[in-house]
Amino acid sequence: MAPGILGKKIGMTQIFDGQGRVIPVTAVQAGPCVVVQRKTVEKDGYSAIQLGLVEFIKESRVTKPRLGHFKKAGVEAARYVREFPIAGDAELKAGDRILAAEFKPNDRIDITAKPKGRGFQGVVKRHGFSGGPDSHGSMTHRAPGSIGQSSYPSRVIKGVRMGGRMGGTKVTTIGLQVVEVLEEDNVILVRGAVPGPNGGYVMVRRSQKQ
């Protein structure tokens, strides 16, 4: 059983369940993926598989070192390559295909992706501070308030949450649920939202926690 798959976020929609309830789902183009390399404890010090997402991509778009890496495994050039840890005795080798059909409805998965960049954001949006009152003469609307003490320590402690760049750093949403798998299209429908923009690459893993 494959530990995970690579995919691309297509977008969100809604479907009905049997009782007529609406379920929000994100469609993820999951695979086809190909094992680019099998890492072993003997050779690499740890056991993992390296997966590539099979998309049509010109060979000239891939760096030469990477192209050589694909050639060695005898697989197509892939734009998105990621590694998944795997048990040492797992029977997966370079060249093996991994498809969306690996997943079944109600499987729990974790999705790792790069969310949309939000730019420089204040403390209310970035850290969920409540800000000050909007009216009644208030002059602190979205300000953070106090960021520390006075004469002692006379400085701001490191790590105090302030405004700054938000988004654009890797995020994992855990415990997502597979609602449906469209095998012929290699698409899985995941309940709820998935990080990243439509068209962004995502890494789908089986949840450790069930």
Binding site: I10, G11, T13, I15, F16, G20, V22, A27, V187
Partner: protein, 118 residues
Amino acid sequence: MQNAILDKIDQMKMREGVAKMEPGDTVRAHVRIREGEKERIQIFEGTVIAQNNTGLRETVTLRKISFGSVAVERIFPIHSPIIAEFEIVRRTRVRRAKLYYLRNLRGKAARLRERDRR
């Protein structure tokens, strides 16, 4: 929606053979109601005053006058499995897509003219 796969999901989930309703039609909506273990069909008959054509999320708004004075409007998601069927009872001639003006009319003024069947 523009994405081919999202469209395909919609297409796949859409139910077929739904009566084609138009604003001004009087329609009987057969709704499945679950009461504990048992399931029965409840009928809601009303005039189509609005439609929202958005693929799988397509809805129709039915308005009826119950007990002669209380207006009831219900929005039905056409492709929801709780809907058993729609039955068109009567078709009328109207000149708008949304018949919200009926909300401000009552009694005789709120009548709609039957459409010529030709």
